[in-house]
C-alpha cells in the first residue's frame, strides 16, 4: 500500500517537472516568433539611432543565434542555452524595458500585489459560491434556486472589465470608496485601525469585482454536482432509512459533491495569478497580469519568460496538489 502510494507520488512529481521543462522551452521560442525588436520595443524616436539599437541588441544578447550557433566555435553559445544556464542558477535575467531592474525583483513585487488581491477574493467567492450552490441544490426547484441560479449565470457571463467599471462608478460616486491603488499614498496613520480602514476602502471594489466573477462558476458547479449526488441510489437508500435530510446532506452528499469543486479551485488558483489582469487594469493594481501585458507590448523577453514560468509553475503545482489531495478524498484514485 505504502509502496504504491510512493510510486504514485513520484510519478506525478516527475511528470510535473517534465512539464515545466517543456513549458520553459516552448515559451522561450514562442516569444521570439513575435515580430519586432526588443531593443526598440515599439518606440519611435529619432534619437534612438541605428547605432543605439545595435548597442542595445548586443547588451540584451538578442543578436546571438536563437537556438544553435552554427557560425563560430561552440554550437551552444546561443540565446536558448544561455537562458537555460542562467535559469538553472535561479537567474531570470535583467528586464529589457526596465534596464536596471532584475526580473526576480519585478516579479516578486507584482506577485505579492496580485496575491493581495486574489487571495481574499478567492476565499470570499469559494465560501459564498459553495454556500449558494448548496442552498440552491437543497432548495432545488424553488424560487430561491431559480434566483441563485440566475444571479450566478449573470455574474459568470459578465465581462470582468465591464463589471469592474460599473462597480468603480458606483463605489466612487455613492460609497466614497477609492478609485485606484492599494493604499492612500503617503498617508500618516495615527492608529493601526486607520491604516486597516484605508486598505479595506481600497480593496473593496477590486475584491468585490473579482469575487463576483469567480463566485458564479463555483456556485454553478457546486449546485449541479450536489444535485447529481443527491440523485444517486445510496442517497435514496439513506432517505429510505429515515435519516434526516440535513444529515444526509452533511454526511453523505457534501463530501462527494466537493470533488469537482476541489479541482476547480485548484485550477483557478493557478490561473487567477494571471487572470486578475482585467481587474488590475480597471483598478490600477500593479500586479502580475499588468506586468505581463506591458512586457508583451515592449517585447520584454526576460520578464515574459519569468512571468510565464511563474504562471506555468502555479498551474502545474496546483494540479499536482489536486491529484495528491484526490488520493485522500477519493480512494479510487490511489491505485490508478
Amino acid at each position: 500500500m505504502a509502496a504504491s502510494r510512493r510510486r504514485f507520488v513520484t510519478q506525478k512529481v516527475v511528470f510535473a517537472a517534465l512539464t515545466v521543462f517543456a513549458v520553459v522551452t516552448f515559451n522561450f521560442f514562442l516569444f521570439r516568433v513575435l515580430p519586432g525588436d526588443p531593443a526598440v520595443g515599439g518606440m519611435r524616436d529619432p534619437r534612438l539611432s541605428p547605432e543605439r539599437v545595435e548597442a542595445l541588441r548586443e547588451r540584451f544578447g538578442v543578436d546571438d543565434p536563437v537556438f544553435l550557433n552554427f557560425e563560430d566555435g561552440n554550437p551552444f553559445e546561443s540565446q536558448y542555452f544561455a537562458y537555460l544556464g542562467a535559469l538553472s542558477n535561479g537567474d531570470l535575467g535583467t528586464s529589457y524595458a526596465f534596464r536596471d531592474q532584475q526580473v526576480t525583483t519585478l516579479l516578486g513585487q507584482s506577485l505579492v500585489n496580485t496575491l493581495w488581491l486574489i487571495v481574499p477574493a478567492q476565499m470570499i467567492s469559494i465560501v459564498l459560491g459553495v454556500g449558494l450552490g448548496l442552498l440552491a441544490a437543497y432548495k432545488r426547484g424553488t424560487r430561491v434556486d431559480v434566483a441563485a441560479l440566475t444571479f450566478s449565470l449573470i455574474m459568470w457571463s459578465l465581462p470582468t472589465f465591464f463589471l469592474g467599471i460599473i462597480l468603480l462608478f458606483v463605489g466612487t460616486t455613492w460609497l466614497d470608496l477609492s478609485a485606484a491603488g492599494r493604499v492612500t499614498i503617503g498617508a500618516q496613520y495615527t492608529e493601526i485601525w486607520d491604516q486597516i480602514g484605508d486598505i479595506v476602502s481600497h480593496m473593496i471594489l477590486p475584491t468585490a469585482t473579482l469575487s463576483l466573477v469567480l463566485l458564479g462558476e463555483y456556485m454553478l458547479i457546486m449546485r449541479s454536482s450536489l444535485v447529481e449526488v443527491l440523485g444517486e441510489d445510496y442517497i435514496l437508500t439513506a432517505r429510505a432509512e429515515g435519516i434526516p435530510r440535513r444529515q444526509i446532506l452533511r454526511r453523505h452528499a457534501f463530501r462527494n459533491a466537493m470533488l469537482p469543486i476541489v479541482t476547480l479551485i485548484a485550477l483557478n488558483l493557478g490561473f487567477t495569478v494571471s487572470g486578475a489582469i482585467q481587474v488590475e487594469t480597471v483598478f490600477s493594481w500593479p500586479g502580475l497580469g499588468h506586468l505581463t501585458v506591458d512586457a508583451v507590448n515592449q517585447r520584454d523577453f526576460p520578464v515574459l519568460q519569468g512571468a510565464f514560468l511563474l504562471l506555468a509553475l502555479s498551474v502545474i503545482l496546483a494540479n499536482l496538489v489536486v491529484e495528491l489531495i484526490y488520493g485522500y478524498l477519493d480512494p479510487r484514485v490511489k491505485g490508478a
Binding site: S49, P50, F151, A179, D194
Partner: protein
Amino acid sequence: MNRRALALLLSAVMVLSACAAEPDTEGTTTTNSETDGTTGTTGTTGTTDTTAPPVDATGGTARIAWGGSPDSLNPGNGVLAEAYTLYELMYDTPIGLDLDGNYVPELATDWSVSDDGLTWTLNLVDNAVFHDGTPLTSEDVKFSMELWRDTEDFPFLPSYPDVFTIEAPDETTVVLTTEEPIGNFESRLVFMYIVPKHIWEGESDPVAFDNAEMIGTGSFTLAEHSQGEFVRLEANADYWAGRPNVDEVIFQTIENPDARVTALRNGDVDMITELPNTAIPTLESDANVEVISGDPLAPSLTDVFFNIVPEELCPPEDGVCSGHPALKDLEVRKALAHAIDKQQLIDVALLGLGTPGISLTPTGLGDFFNSSLEDYAFDLEMAAGILEDAGYVDSDGDGVRECLADQDCEDLTFRFNYPNDSDSAPRETELISGWWSEIGVATTVQPLDPDTLTSVCCPTFDFDVIRWGWGSDPDPGFLLGAALCSEIDSGFSETGYCNEDYDALYDAQAVETDVEARRDMIWEMQEILLRDLPYIIPYYDQAVQAYRADTFTGWQTGASKLALEDPSSLNVISPAG
C-alpha cells in the same frame, strides 16, 4: 436579487475586517483633510478669515495622477515621459527650456561661444548642492556629460553630447569644444542631467545602476518609489534657487482614464496629467475643476506619408520598394493633399484638440515653426481637376481612376496602413479614405501592430501610404533629418524622399551658430517639404490637463506649452487660501 447579493457580498468583505468598518470612514476623512493641506482647518467656518494664510502659503501635499509610470530612475535608461518628469524635478541641467520654448539659464548662469564657433564656455552657479550635502562643481558637470556621451547602451542621451570634448578648468567653469560649429548648442544641454560624480563614478556598468536614491541638485528629493504604483517626493528645503512652496508631491499611477477623472472630481488627487477628450465636458461642468489645453511638453505630430523611394536608391540590403508608381507623381500627391480636411479631421477624430499641421516642425517648437506657409486648401473639385489634368481618368467607370500608360500599375488603389495602438487612427483613416474616394482614389485600409508596421515601412519600403506619427525633440534638426537622402538606408527616412538642395540646407543649418540665419534655413526646409509633399501632416497633437482650483493655486497655465507636472508649476504652487 442582484443588488441584494451585492450588498451581501460587500458586507461579507466588511465582516472580514470585523471592527475595521468604523475606522474606515475615519481614515478616509483624515487623508482627505491632508489632501487639502492647510485649507481643511480654515475652510470650515467663515469667521476664521482673519487667520487665513497669506497668498503664497507653504506646505501641503500635491497629489497628481498620471496614466503611466516612470520606467527608470536612472536618467540614462529612461524612455517614457513620466521618467523625464522625475528627472526634471530631481536634477538640474546646465541650460533649461521654458514652456514658451526659450532656452534659459539653469546651472549655467551664462554661456558664450568663441569667434570660430568651436569653443563654448559656461559659467556655473556656485551654490548648487546635491541632496546628500555635497556641493556641485564643474567636475560633476564634466563627469555627467561624459557619462551620457560615452555609455552607448543608453537609448537617448548619448545623441546630445556626442560632439563635445568637455573640460573643467575651474570649479565654476565648463568648456565645451566641438570639431565643427554647431547650430543647436542649447538644445544639446537641456537633457544633460547633472549627477554626483562621487556616487556614479563607482558604477562599472552605469546601465545596470538603478539609482534608487536619485541624488541630484533639483528642487525635490525622492522619498519613496513603488514601481508602477507611485512616486513620493519631498521639497528640497536647501534648493539653491529657492525651495518649493509645497512640502510633498505624490505621483500616483491610475491607468484607467475614467478612474483618473473620477479621482480628480472626488478630490483624491489635485491634478491629472492626461485625460480622454471625451471627459472634457464633464470636467468643465465641475465648478472646482479647471481644464487646460496647449502644446505638449514634448511636441508631437501625426503624419501621412508616401512611399516615393526612387528605384536607384532602394536600400540594397533590406529594400523591397513595392510602392505604388503613381505616388511618385507629385500631381497625385498634390491632389491627395487637397483632399484632406484637416480641421474636420481634428474636430471629428480628436474632438477639436489638435492644431492643423503643415510640416515636420510642430508649433510647439516656437520660432522654428514656419508660420508663413500656406497649406493646400481643402477642395475636392480642385483635387479631382488636378488628377484629370495629369491624365488620370476613370476609363472603365468603376469609380477609380486608371494609372497612366507608362506606369506599371492598373489604377489608383493604394494600400493604407496605420498603427493599431492609436485610438484616433481608425476614425482618421476612415475620413481620409472617404475624401480620397470622392476624387477617384481607392484605398485598402489595414491596421498593423507597430512592429509589423516598422517591418513594412522602413527601410523595406513595402507600403504605399502610412498614417503614423513622431515625437519631436526640442530642436527641429532631429525630425527634419527624416527627409535626408542619407537616411534612406538607415530606416529613419520613411518616405525615400531625396533632394540635394534640402540636404545641403540641412548640412548648413547644422553648423550655423547664428540663430536668425539658422532659423531661415529651417523655414526654407519646411517650405521645400510642403512643396514636394513626401508628407502630409494632418495635425500637431495638443495636451489636455486638469486640476482642482480649490486645493492649490499657482499652476502655470499661461505658456504656449502645457505641463503642470513640470518644475515650473510644482516649484510655485501653494495651498489655496
